[in-house]
Symmetry: C2
Subunit: 153 residues, 2 copies
DNA sequence: GAAAACTAATCTGTCGAACAGACTATATGT
DNA sequence: ACATATAGTCTGTTCGACAGATTAGTTTTC
């Protein structure tokens, strides 16, 4: 059941977000990339790829496209000249804001069969579970989140 | 966050289940097919494909393989001779039982950062959300499930 | 302080899985 | 009876994922 639920939800989520992301290159993937860059600010291109579970060679051409569209920029990391820091342009931020709004609405619709209290609980548990299950992530982060969650509940 | 959580969890789930499904053809997909056939008994090949969100042309060769391995059989539906009812063989049931056990353990590990009470809640909410979001499914089913869930809580 | 070992990102080639579209056989509506 | 629709299969093409080599820069070690 778990696998089926996840598959169905992710598929539906993707379909709706695909639609909401029509302004962005590479659809859902593009949204995830831009969103991660803006909201999570991963330090490097490699970190970004790891967070999203995207192959580094794929990340290269995704970012090529985003740079070409003026949504993101690659800057050399002064501390390590092999690495690139990915930073959003103003245009990128503006576009993302619009898309984010549409995505939020799409997610609401997706979970519309759940009362809002249940929705909050589901989101919190999902994030917690995902953080705990994500490979390679710093365990400290997961623990900190867990503590925060317990406290607020 | 929702999209990211779902993506991460599904990816991790797939990796673990891929491992647990080493006896089956087509890995995770294979597990989902066999599991759906045995536990959900969808009436036809098309219904099975719809439930799992798999293209019908893909379903054809998945089932070819399963039939070749003696795990499933295609029988003509006496009521509609275009349709095939997919039924598991005894061997198929036995193999699935083993795989199911391994999958259950893998899922436990996947959610090991959640206390067991939270785990139950998460699974219930996920299933409810997925049932509500699944396209084309009979709305009655979703409503019935929803009622049952509220009652038991 | 040069060689060796490692890592970030890119480039190239290959392969497989997904999908569109045509086709067969059966069913249903007019 | 004829048109239209559906279940399943088959064929061909396309596109994205990944492996592997490459370039550039960093850290380690002796």
């Amino acid at each position: 059941m778990l696998g089926w639920s996840l598959t169905v939800l992710l598929r539906e989520w993707s379909a709706r977000v695909e639609d909401a992301s029509r302004d962005l290159p590479h659809g859902v993937r593009g949204y995830q990339v831009l969103s991660a860059v803006v909201h999570e600010t991963p330090p490097t291109q490699a970190a970004l790829a790891a967070r999203l579970g995207i192959d580094r060679t794929v990340m290269t051409y995704l970012l090529d496209k985003f740079e070409g569209c003026g949504l993101l920029e690659r800057r050399q990391d002064p501390a390590d000249r092999r690495a690139r820091r990915i930073v959003p342009t103003d245009h990128g931020r503006r576009v993302l804001a619009e898309v984010d709004a549409r995505v939020a609405q799409a997610e609401d619709e997706l979970l519309s069969t759940l009362p809002s209290e249940d929705r909050r609980v589901l989101l919190a548990l999902l994030e917690h579970a995902a953080s705990g299950a994500a490979p390679g992530e710093d365990r400290c982060a997961a623990v900190a989140r867990s503590a925060a969650l317990t406290q607020e509940a």
